[in-house]
Structures are given as structure tokens and as C-alpha cells.
């Protein structure tokens, strides 16, 4: 096992962690502010990937195709999420948790079949533009160019989210609503608008994650299944509603899987699950503070 292989794995692991972070950030935002475990979060991720593919295909081989796809996909998923929240989900907030989980599960079943309906069961591939294909050699290691893009995208998204929740009034109101929605209402803020915004943003991030992962993997039905459970575990391990926690959890996940690939390739996929289970056994509320 040489340094080049390790570095290569690490980069791949980190870029995978970035995707997980973007998606989990959306999930933890929704969990923190609305207290809804969004089971169809993964379906939006998948939808984002398919929409990105469609847009890129439509534009053709023009290099702007990918960027357009990266912009369009999250907007579509945000719109879908927002419509569902405004029309249906918002009527269920006063119901018990289990009902919300089952509702979002029902939506997941519907969305998955809608994707199957629109795109069929065959898998797709999204080829990145020539400028982003291939690899770059760093310290004698070939690093896929697109993975480097992901390594930049992740922190960028993280920074934007942090700026939003800590430096804008809307973001601060969202954080206040996460701890005490009634008090926020009594101060004159329309809490349902805050919820809508938070949910829309969360769904936007899910779609963004899907669009970003599209060029690196095959786009298939079922790509949402394992991502959703990974995302939920990350969010729980990191602390509900905690953005830094989502980052920590994602890094933990991505890196332990890379370590696994170096150490015991056959069971590499199991490493993150073992580690998260271990963390939860010791600290069931997560590594960092939960919003509730």
C-alpha cells in the first residue's frame, strides 16, 4: 500500500463525503427547523441526478451544459419539495412524529415511481465536459478532475449555509424557530413561511447533491436507498439540526469508507456503519449539540 494509493483513496473518500455533506446538510436543516424526518430526501437526490442528466443531454456537448444542469436540478427539487410542503405536509405539523415519517415515506414511494415513469428503468451516465474529464497528477498521484470540483463545492456550500444561518436575519429567525416556534410566532413572524423556506432550501440541497454526484457515478433507480440511510445516520451522529455535525458526520463516513477500502475492501462498505453504530452507542444524541 503506497502513499499514492492512500492519497488517491482519500481524495475519493473526501469527495464522496462532500456529496454526503451537501445532502445531509439539507436533511439536518429540515430536521432541525421543522422537526420532520424527511424520508423522501433521497428521492429528491435521485431526481436531481436525473434532471441534471436530462438538462445536460438537452444542451448537448456544450461545456455550459453541466453548469446549467447543476443550476436547474436543485431548483426543480426545491420546487417539488416546496409544493409538497405547502399543500400537504404543512397540514400535518400538529400530528405525531410517526405520522410525519410515514407521510414522507409515502411521498418517497410515489416520487420513486414517478422517476421510473419519466425516465424508465435503464441507467444513465452523465459525461462531464472535456475540461473536467480525466485526471490531474498531484505528487505523482492521478486525481480525477471532477472529484476536485467536489472538494471545492462542499466547503463552498457549507460556507454559504453558515453565512445564511448566522449572518442573515432570515437564517437567524430559522434558528430561533428551530428552538421555539411558538415564541417566534408570538413575536410576529409567520412561522409557516419560515418552514417553507427551510424545507425548500433543504430540498434544494438534496437536488444539488444529486446533480453533483451525477457525473461521477451511474444514475439509476435505487440510488436513493442507501444514500438516505447514510444521510440519516450522518445527521443523527452529527447532532440533529447541527450543520457542523453534518460535516463531521459526513467526513467520518467518507473517510472510514476509504480506510475500509484500503484495509478490507470486501467489507469497506460496512466500516461507516460500524463506526456510526459505535458512536451512537457511546453518545446517542450525536457528537455535537442537537437543536432539540
Amino acid at each position: 500500500m503506497d502513499a499514492a494509493a492512500v492519497l488517491g483513496q482519500l481524495v475519493v473518500g473526501l469527495s464522496r463525503a462532500m456529496i454526503l455533506f451537501i445532502v445531509s446538510a439539507g436533511l439536518t436543516l429540515i430536521l432541525g427547523v421543522l422537526r420532520v424526518p424527511n424520508v423522501f430526501h433521497g428521492s429528491l437526490y435521485m431526481l436531481g441526478a436525473f434532471v441534471a442528466w436530462t438538462v445536460a443531454e438537452a444542451v448537448g456537448s456544450h461545456p455550459a451544459g453541466l453548469w446549467l444542469a447543476l443550476a436547474a436540478a436543485p431548483l426543480v427539487t426545491a420546487a417539488v419539495g416546496l409544493v409538497l410542503e405547502r399543500l400537504l405536509l404543512s397540514r400535518l405539523y400538529h400530528r405525531e412524529h410517526l405520522m410525519l415519517i410515514l407521510f414522507t415515506f409515502g411521498v418517497m414511494l410515489v416520487l420513486n415511481d414517478v422517476v421510473k415513469l419519466l425516465w424508465g428503468p435503464t441507467y444513465r451516465s452523465l459525461v462531464p465536459p472535456p475540461s473536467l474529464q480525466g485526471a490531474v497528477t498531484v505528487l505523482g498521484v492521478a486525481l480525477p478532475k471532477f472529484n476536485l470540483v467536489l472538494l471545492v463545492a462542499g466547503p463552498l456550500v457549507g460556507l454559504s449555509l453558515w453565512l445564511f444561518t448566522h449572518r442573515t436575519r432570515a437564517g437567524r429567525i430559522a434558528r430561533a424557530a428551530a428552538t421555539d416556534r411558538d415564541m417566534v410566532a408570538v413575536l410576529g413572524v409567520d412561522v409557516s413561511r419560515v418552514f417553507g423556506m427551510a424545507f425548500g432550501l433543504g430540498c434544494f440541497l438534496a437536488g444539488l447533491g444529486g446533480a453533483l454526484v451525477a457525473p461521477t457515478t451511474s444514475i439509476t433507480l435505487g440510488m436513493d436507498h442507501s444514500l438516505l440511510i447514510d444521510s440519516f445516520l450522518i445527521v443523527i451522529v452529527g447532532g440533529l439540526g447541527n450543520l457542523w455535525g453534518a460535516l463531521a458526520g459526513s467526513l467520518l463516513f467518507g473517510i472510514t469508507q476509504s480506510v475500509g477500502l484500503l484495509v478490507w475492501p470486501q467489507f469497506a462498505v460496512a466500516f461507516p456503519y460500524a463506526v456510526t453504530a459505535a458512536v451512537l452507542l457511546v453518545r446517542p444524541t450525536g457528537l455535537l449539540r442537537s437543536a432539540w
Binding site: H97, M99, A274
Partner: protein, 318 residues
Amino acid sequence: MSGRVLLGLALAALAAAPAVLPPFFVYLLALVLVTGLLATSLNLVLGYGGLYQFHHGVFYGIGAYTAAVGITRLGWPAWLAFLAGPLAAGLAGLVIGFFCVRLSRLYFGMLQLSLGSFVWIVALRWYPVTGGDNGIHGIPLPPVLQTLPGAYALVAGAVVASLAALRAVVRSPFGLTLQAIRDNPQRSEVMGVDVRAHQLAAIVLAAFFAGVAGVLYVALERSVFPSMLFWVLSLEILVMCLLGGWFTFSGPLVGAAVVVGLRTLAGRYTEYWTLMLGVLLILLIFFLPEGIMGHLQRRWNAYRALSARPATAGDVRG
């Protein structure tokens, strides 16, 4: 008393089925029974215990895999494998339950999801033992079980016995105490009840019977798949309980019948049966949150209260 009559008729119908129904429907009925047992076992901790058992499927899968691995890899005779399955599931319930029971609500469910997913991924990857993502197929069973009537007899008999046992548990002092814990754990504690121990016992029991369902599945299908350990199945069982009514005993059975029936029958005509299930679930949450049996039971109670004695103010629950 009409309940007894209904029960008698149901049992008679079950016994007569292989002689009367075409083979496909006998198979379907067996599948409904197995799934119904699985859902009812979940409801012991969900509806009666108030626990967020999000990954009940793990115990089902462990029961099934233990039997499958026992027969194919360890050369056990079928009866031993079928006994080991539920025991292994119960043991898993003890271990997983021990850690989860210390947590409340959502965290309980999440830790379970995490531990269960770990079991799933191990089964998915441990090719030599579990068959990896293919699972294990064509498991050799004694000749009597290789015929449909034989398998059906085992399934029906075991399910009826298991449901009877579960029903006895629910009506025992243990069952009442469990429901009290569900309604108000602090109050139960003050009354002298060991809340943790009760919940753990309930989880072990539920896991055991999920394991029974698992080995019955093996008897029926002669295969196991890693999807039995996947979270989607666990959520499906949860849906069955909700659909049928999770504060009733027969609710999960009804829910299982609807889901399995829908999947099999609708699946013949369209590939979008999950869409239908999803829509059904959403409609249910909005319009029938107590589930089918829950709703029927409430109507039945109201009807009885109205007709049996003069209504006193506030007595009839609307």
C-alpha cells in the same frame, strides 16, 4: 361472543383453503399469514409498547438467514434450523434492545436503524456465508415441506399458534403493564414498574416472533434475500401496522393482507404498484389515521354504546 364465531369461521376457512383455492391463492394466503405475523410482532412494541421500532425487519432477516445458513452451510436438519432462527432473532432482540431501550423515542429508532443497517451490510458482503447480494436460493427442505399444501400447513399452523401466543401476552398483566408504560412511563416508574426491563422483554418477544415469521418465509420460498434486512422493508411493516390500525390486535394482519395483496395482484397489471401504495398511505394519514381496524372498532364501540344503554352525557366517544 360473535367474535368467537368469527374466529371459528376464520380458522375453518384457513384449514379448508388448500382444498378449495387454486395453488396461487394458497401461496398468497400463506404469504399474507407470514407477513401478518411479522406485522403483529412489530405491533407488540409499536402499538402496545409505544416504541419507535424502525428496523424490526432485522429480526425477521436474522431468523430467516439463521435457518438458511444453518441448513445450507452448517448441514443442520430443518427442524433444528427452524428452531434456531427465532432463538437467534430473540437473542438479537436482547442485544439490540439492550442498547436502544436506554434512549427515548426518535433516538431509539435511529440507533436501531444504525445497528440494523450494520447487520444488513454484513449480510450483503459476506458472500461465502450469506450469499452476498444474491442471497441463498433453493434451500433443501424435507419433502413434506416441498409441496405447497405441506408448506402451507406449517405456515398456517405456526402463524395461528404464534398469534394466539401474542394475543395471550397482550391480555396478560405484562401486556397491560406495557400499555401503561406506553401511555405514561414516569407514572409507571413511580408505581414500581421496571420500565426498561419491560420494554426489553417486549422487544425480545417481538424479535422472537419476527424470527418465526422469518423461518416460515424460508419454508415457503426456500430463499433468503438481503432485502429482508433492509430498512425499506422495515418501513413497509410499519405501514402495514398503520394501515390496519396500530391500536388494535388484528389491525396489522389486515394491513399486511392489503399490502401483500396489492403488491401481488396490482403488480400483475402495472409496474407502478409502489405508487399506489404511496398514494394509499398518504390518503390514510389524512383521512383514516386510526387505520382500517381502528376506525371500524371505533364505529362498533359507538354503535354498541348507543344501542346497549341510555346514552349519558359525554359517554359516547365521537
